[in-house]
Symmetry: C2
Subunit: 428 residues, 2 copies
């Protein structure tokens, strides 16, 4: 029996024995409804856990006056009160490769309650699945990270490289938490982010940016609606026009990592608001959405393409010559990220996946942005996305995670940490 | 010179001499921004004016607990504080026909400020036009009513019939003010409502009712939007489907009074709201609008037709079989109204229009509901709409009225009051 097989069995056994504690931790994290601005309760649970693990704990509230100096900063918040960032460092013995293990603590709103079969923050377990907003995106992944470190600690192994665990805010709104950690000096030789990939490995990831469109109409009494111009009807034209842009942009994507993804870089219209009186013709509509950005293009190029495309709508309808669509880039943005498919960390995760699950992992491009783009581009830390959550359930009603995946991911990550950071012995 | 010609000259002369006072009154009323819930300031101006005119003044705040007993009541307000109803009665000497002169004091919101060239409540006068929200719909009409009564008073004429001047709230949201006056016992042999008709006479008027649709989707992350179902996209189908219903309903209208109206009974979509996160697929959209109702149909028949039409959308898209559109009738409704074209009050207004303006008036059907439907149906008071405002500018940015029309309408109305209510002499 090799030494590695020995570790593997011990880690596997430790995770089995500590399954209830892991599930308890995940339940507590889900129940702490950490929507934007409300992350403190969940972060307190994280702080307790990593303090107990003996990590060096760093907790701070990101400072907007510092953040705005970075070109990567994008947030519509005026300050970050109620939203602490938390980092725990397990200092290595030296000379090994360091790693950042990054997971966001914020969750998107639960949406329409009627579409949930359980209370969105109940963390109910049914048939081996835990349900709740944020359980898959990405508290299940965060717990897998903590379990991986705990399993290594239980073996009394010391690593050469540093392990930096980051529980960050604001991933869902553009990455302010991870940016704040980068600006505070946290860097490593690589990073792993267990976003919900269905246990796939994503060396490349889509970026994205939020946009806001204002479409004008001309008001009139609803009883003589033909005297006005409905901004709602004009918005329908705008949305059709944007759909054609999405088609055009996606036709260009030929990276084989995207081959099984129906729309590699979607343009999502997420919000629409217009009108203030049922019997008036609506004179102004605001549309908010998300422009997906390919790993191979720059954010500036994507923005320019959309700006020009929207200007062209006046060729289809002269209304827009007199009342052009107003386009604003606001709130969140996620920098696209890309590392080589043969990066050594990819190879190690692949190997340990094979060893734990007896099959080859799928390697794909991420359909969404993560903080990996920031870590890779702004933090000089090549990042890989691999996690136990269910991709299709992120941001969905009835979001769930299969609990077995959390422990499988923890096992693969623990073995990968040992391989990457290397074991320190007194003979070193 | 006939006695009537004598009156006409005196009234004409009095209106000319008092033009500045009339314009001042209109300016003050427009500047008192009487949007829903905020009518008290404007009503105070009315109370001062009709008190000065020696009318018997009745001021009260409509009581919801009484109103809800009427099948005609439709309002989403919980109470009517801040919104007094005002009535002034000029008691006749007896034996003459009585008349209600009804005008609403509430105005719709100003809408997008950027589309106004003047401040919406400035009441600025440019080239003989006064600009402002509510000036045409319908404070200009209300002032014409007051000027007509004042002109008759200035002649020292006593009328046989009662003149009941009503300055009502809530016309723009379904007629609670007029309903409250009816329930309090105010009735007459006929009513005149100077809504903005471009000086046309409307013996028939469209009714209308507000509807609210909830369209469901299924949420997902915007980066994998193909995993969800966009309620915004489904709403576009719903709005197209409603457009076909509008076409179907309007094809049936063959009343010659509607011959020059492009869409006799429009369906207006006035508001749309959906989604709570730019990068999530939107799972719920709420659409609010106004269904126009023909003078020849009942409100129930129109509602049933729309209900069935919306159910049929599941034949076009099976999504709606599982997630049917939720339809609510809410807030405002205006009962359609219709009186004979040869009603004696129509004939009198026609005659006096011809006499004052030396041309024949246009007689048409109203493209919108007014409180005339309620007065005719619930108040047993046949109602005619005729007023100086600019139809196309009601509910529009840059709403205005041509001031000369206000005084022409006042002259026609004064002569009509004399004809309808008849002059009392001691010989009677």
């Amino acid at each position: 029996m090799t030494k590695n097989q020995d570790f593997k069995d011990h880690i596997h056994h430790w995770l089995l024995s500590n399954k209830d504690d892991g599930i308890d931790l995940l339940r507590k994290l889900v129940q702490a409804k950490s929507i934007q601005g409300n992350e403190a309760e969940a972060q307190t649970i994280v702080i307790e856990e990593i303090t107990r693990m003996g990590m060096n704990v760093d907790v701070w509230q990101p400072d907007k006056s510092e953040l705005v100096k970075s070109k990567y900063f994008a947030s519509n918040r005026s300050d970050f009160s109620g939203s602490p960032n938390v980092i725990g460092v397990l200092k290595g013995q030296g000379k090994g490769r360091s790693i950042i293990l990054n997971g966001h603590i914020d969750v998107v709103p639960a949406g329409d309650r009627e579409q949930w079969h359980v209370e969105p923050y109940s963390a109910s377990i049914i048939d081996g699945k835990m349900y709740g907003r944020g359980v898959t995106d990405m508290k299940g992944g965060n717990v897998a990270l903590l379990l991986a470190i705990q399993a290594i600690q239980a073996l009394n192994i010391k690593l050469k490289g540093d392990v930096i665990f980051e529980s960050v805010i604001e991933e869902e709104s553009g990455g302010t938490g991870t940016l704040a950690a980068i600006l505070k000096g946290y860097k490593a030789d690589a990073a792993l982010i267990p976003e919900p990939t269905n246990m796939k490995i994503f060396p490349k990831q889509q970026g994205s940016i939020w946009f806001r469109l204002t479409v004008k109409g001309r008001s009139a009494h609803g009883g003589t609606r033909y005297e006005g111009v409905s901004a709602i009807e004009k918005s329908m034209l705008v949305m059709e026009h944007i759909k054609l842009l999405e088609q055009k942009r996606n036709k260009r994507i030929n990276d084989p990592l995207y081959k099984s993804i129906p729309i590699p870089i979607p343009i999502n219209i997420g919000k629409i608001n217009g009108g203030d009186w049922p019997s008036s013709v609506c004179d102004s509509v605001i549309i908010e959405g998300r422009l997906g950005i390919s790993p191979e293009e720059t954010m500036e190029a994507a923005k320019n393409e959309m700006e020009n495309w929207l200007k062209d709508i006046s060729k289809l309808d002269s209304w827009f010559s007199d009342y052009p669509i107003k386009l604003e880039w606001f709130g969140a943005r996620w920098v696209p990220g890309s590392i080589d498919n043969d990066h050594p960390l990819v190879a190690l995760i692949q190997k340990n996946y094979q060893s734990v699950l007896n099959e080859n992992p799928i390697i794909e491009a991420s359909p969404w942005g993560t903080d990996g783009g920031l870590l890779t581009e702004a933090g000089c830390t090549p990042s890989i996305i691999f996690g136990p959550g269910v991709t299709e359930k992120a941001h969905f009603p009835n979001e769930y995670i299969e609990l077995d995946r959390v422990f499988e991911a923890a096992e693969i990550i623990a073995l990968t940490l040992i391989d990457w950071c290397e074991i320190y012995t007194d003979n070193n």
